[in-house]
């Protein structure tokens, strides 16, 4: 991405002294702004500038207190990072605010972006940074009774560092008290002028939520007045774990973030690591990666397809689609040795070369699958009851999608053709011939249409992988590629040393910051990694698509009924681990 001159524009508007530039490996313009000016700068970037940065892509923080090698960066204890995305420029900008003090505070930007709400709550929850003026500043991922803020460096990462767990009676009472439901605490009124509301607790154990998600419904009859999602049941501290795993041993954790996406998560993480390390991945490895990613896109979409139909009450499709998914997994298993979480990609390439006979398996599948998709079209997409349940339900337009940070099929269903694979081709996607399906209405049905068409396109990509698989090494010869290719290990001392270091300490990734995003199954998945020249990352931020998507659910569900909510939840296609990390 070329410098879009945004820095000059900002300097003319606010004066040069306001900004400190920082160089990063991803070459996004990165600027430090003072806490007093931040809201103005963000408003300028979102509204006033030509070709604005309309999407708040990510919002997170860094505990900088023990970071080495900060060099040209301003002094900071905690840094809040705003990551904005401009569709007009096809460019991003990163704005950082340095905060001083043990528990600093920062003005809210919820008035500027609706989706800032949850992100700011997450920052408060994870770092203890107070957000001034936030409408509902409460913990979001951790339990309400949790003590401490997990992503602060002083918070222990292991259970063994936390002391023995004890539950005295008084604590038990406190915990029980916290579980009691009081609508006012959730920002819900108990009654309107002329009637009482009914509160329905959907989840965390409910057949329609696809995982441990809790939705508190404020109902008038069966009509939804408001919804408050309660997330965090699936929170496992993936970002904290990254700070104690080596760069290499963190890869299996990424598999489990969007647990239906499998190796696709590896890719988002490794592209960023490779950016930091400056590794160029050989062509064969790139195509193997694409092949597996698209297979996983199929398997994830098949799960969505089946369960979506089931949410609407159709019993059978899920069985057919899981059978097909099994066929995808057979290929994945033959290549990787594992099914859902193969942990197959490595820094600099993939674990191993493709096995003999992989091409026959893929060929069989590619000729088999399109027929099945046509059959499903007849069974599901053209079914009149299915249409009646999904058309015109849960509508949002492009404008609203951008406001709420929606990416992936949910955004494309509103008519905006935006796909990282085309707009910012990574891993060699520019070499492939495929289309980006879009739809116009942004309702549940259109989101389904986009996903179904995406499956056809994925099949096309897989077919091209099959026909054009390049030869060559499956892993880079770069010394940081982990574990290194074996063939030279016993012949020269350099390779032996890097091999030894790579498997004992783990690779040391050079200092720096980088972000890279991919078009994952549910939307844009990205890793923002900060290295301070160590064997593990200093800060790992996982930008997942499901988090903002879930945040939008109340907005698109108001005024519909409970059955519609199920259509909406199904069409949004979230994974709880992807929301909570």
């Amino acid at each position: 991405m070329a410098d879009s001159g945004i820095i000059d524009e900002l300097k003319t508007k606010f004066g040069g002294r306001e900004f400190i530039e920082q160089k990063t490996h991803d070459e996004f313009p990165t600027l430090w702004v003072s806490k007093e000016k931040i809201v103005d700068v963000l408003r300028f970037l979102k509204i006033e500038i030509s070709k604005p940065y309309r999407m708040l892509y990510d919002l997170t923080a860094i505990d900088e207190r023990t970071r080495a090698g900060r060099r040209e960066m301003p002094d900071s204890d905690f840094t809040v990072v705003y990551h904005l995305l401009s569709f007009d420029r096809n460019d991003d900008i990163r704005v950082k605010v340095a905060l001083k003090g043990k528990y600093p505070s920062l003005p809210t930007i919820t008035k500027l972006w609706s989706n800032a709400n949850w992100y700011e709550r997450e920052i408060y929850d994870m770092f203890g940074i107070k957000i001034e003026g936030h409408p509902h500043l409460k913990r979001i991922l951790m339990p309400l009774t949790w003590e401490g803020h997990p992503l602060r460096k002083e918070h222990p990462a292991r259970a063994t560092e936390m002391g023995q767990f004890q539950l005295p009676e008084e604590k038990e009472k406190r915990e029980q008290q916290a579980l009691l439901f009081n609508p006012e605490e959730w920002g819900l009124k108990k009654e309107s002028e002329d009637s009482d509301f009914m509160f329905l607790n959907v989840g965390p154990q409910h057949p329609g939520t696809h995982g441990v998600l809790r939705l508190v419904l404020q109902l008038l009859g069966e009509e939804i007045v408001d919804i408050v999602p309660d997330i965090g049941f699936h929170h496992r501290g993936a970002e904290k774990m990254a700070e104690r795993q080596t760069w290499h041993t963190y890869i299996p954790y990424t598999d489990r973030i969007d647990y239906l996406g499998g190796v696709m998560n590896n890719l988002a993480y490794l592209l960023t690591v490779e950016k930091l390390a400056g590794i160029k991945v050989p062509e064969r490895a790139q195509v193997i990666r694409i092949l597996l990613c698209e297979l996983f896109r199929l398997s994830s979409h098949l799960v969505w397809y089946g369960t979506f139909a089931q949410d609407i009450g159709q019993l059978s499709p899920v069985f057919y689609m899981f059978t097909d998914r099994e066929k995808v997994f057979e290929i994945i298993e033959a290549i990787c040795g594992d099914r859902m979480h193969p942990n197959w990609f490595r820094i600099g390439g993939v674990t191993d070369d493709l096995p003999n006979g992989w091409d026959t398996m893929v060929k069989n599948f590619v000729s088999y699958f399109p027929k099945r998709l046509r059959e499903y079209d007849k069974m599901v997409m053209k079914n009149r009851i299915f249409k009646a349940r999904t058309i015109g339900i849960g509508i949002y337009n492009t404008e609203e999608a951008i406001e709420w940070g929606i990416t992936g099929p949910g955004l494309r269903a509103t008519g905006l053709e935006w796909d990282f694979r085309k707009k910012r081709p990574y891993s060699g996607y520019d070499q492939f011939d495929f289309e980006i399906p879009t739809a116009q209405n942004g309702d549940c049905y259109d989101r389904a249409v986009v996903r179904v068409e995406e499956m056809r396109q994925s099949t096309r990509i897989i077919e091209q992988c099959l026909k054009n698989m390049p030869s060559g090494p499956y892993k880079s010869h770069h010394p940081l590629a982990t574990p290194p290719l074996k063939e030279r290990t016993m012949h020269d001392i350099e390779t032996l040393i890097t091999h030894f270091l790579g498997v004992s300490w783990g690779p040391v990734i050079p200092e720096g910051e980088a972000f890279s995003g991919i078009e994952a199954t549910k939307g844009n998945n990205g890793y923002y990694l900060i290295s301070d020249g160590n064997t593990s990352s200093y800060r790992t931020r996982v930008r997942t698509p499901s988090f903002p998507h879930m945040q939008m659910v109340p907005f698109i569900s108001r005024g519909y009924t409970i059955p519609d909510l199920l259509s909406i939840l199904g069409s949004v296609d979230f994974v709880l681990a992807d929301i909570d990390r």
Partner: protein, 317 residues
């Protein structure tokens, strides 16, 4: 004396038969669904998994009979009994073969309509007594659904009654000796079948249960044999509706003489039971307001029109 004995045998025969058919259907539905869904279904216990139902029954009988402390106990216990009793009572008027029926009531058809209206109470009371929000929503939906579908369920049958000139089920069957009522009363048949689906709240009309929305709807709080009763009641309902379709539109026991009449009756019924299961395997569930407007705006006028045309034909003929 011998007549009393005969009736006792018929009554016990019908009850035993129906109570065997209901669990048999559970096995049948599971196997059939599995067949259509590319899987095996229960095939481990006994030959073809036939003993699975027995195993389930044993389990369900020995389960803790749990009544939630917040439930209205009396009504909670009563509700599942109603559905079974009303369904069994309705079988009293079904003529299985010439001379084999529990009661040759003159108002047979009205008796069935009355019983099916009573049956609605079981769902409504069960959901209400459970004192659970999901159950409440389920029973509210059930009340709305049954109320609206009962109206034209009755109306759809009036064509048959007009053609026969009697509510007596035996007479209705006999009137079909030369021509089944499916031909003059095709619209009535379609409407009755849809209404029957709604009465038994089977997919696509299972909105009072709606698993993905309301967990189990009106019977969320039920367990053990009380839950089993709802289950058995549902299968009795399917058999009942199927056998009524056969009696009213498909000539009852009539059929080519190489098979005895009672076999013809059960064979035809069996086909409709399978059709019900196939519908369950293939259709999604409409929203309940869509279901209601479909009922009131399409099926009700259609059944009235059917009545009008039938009347006109009878008058002119």
């Amino acid at each position: 004396m011998s007549e009393t004995l005969y009736y006792i045998i018929v009554v016990f025969g019908v009850v035993t038969l129906m109570m065997t058919i209901a669990p048999g259907l559970i096995w049948f539905e599971r196997r059939l669904l599995a067949l259509w869904q590319d899987r095996y279904g229960p095939n481990r216990v006994g030959p073809f998994g036939l003993m699975q139902v027995l195993a389930d029954m044993i389990k369900i009988f020995f389960k803790e009979d749990w009544i939630p402390p917040f439930a209205d106990k009396k009504v909670f216990v009563l509700a599942p009994a109603i559905v079974v009793v009303t369904a069994l009572m309705s079988f009293a008027i079904v003529p299985f073969a010439p001379g084999i029926s529990v009661s040759n009531l003159n108002i047979g058809l009205l008796f069935f309509l009355g019983m099916s209206s009573l049956g609605a109470y079981s769902v409504v009371l069960g959901g209400w007594a459970s004192n659970n929000k999901y159950s409440l929503l389920g029973s509210l939906r059930a009340a709305a659904q049954m109320l609206s579908y009962e109206v034209f369920m009755g109306l759809s049958l009036m064509g048959v009654v007009m053609l026969t000139g009697s509510f007596n089920m035996n007479d209705i069957v006999l009137a079909q000796k030369n021509r089944w009522f499916i031909i003059p009363q095709f619209i009535g048949f379609v409407i009755f079948m849809i209404a029957g689906l709604a009465e038994t709240h089977r997919l696509p009309f299972d909105i009072p249960e709606a698993e993905s929305e309301l967990i189990a709807g009106y019977h969320s709080e039920y367990s053990g044999m009380k839950f089993g009763m709802f289950f058995v009641g549902e299968y009795l309902g399917i058999t009942l509706i199927s056998s009524l379709i056969v009696t009213l539109f498909f000539g009852g026991w009539f059929g080519p003489s190489f098979l005895p009449p009672v076999v013809w009756f059960f064979l035809k019924t069996f086909i409709f039971v399978s059709l019900f299961i196939l519908l369950r395997a293939s259709l999604p569930r409409p929203r309940y307001d869509q279901l209601l407007s479909y009922g009131w705006k399409l099926l009700l006028p259609l059944s009235l029109l059917n009545l009008l045309i039938t009347g006109a034909i009878i008058l002119s003929g």
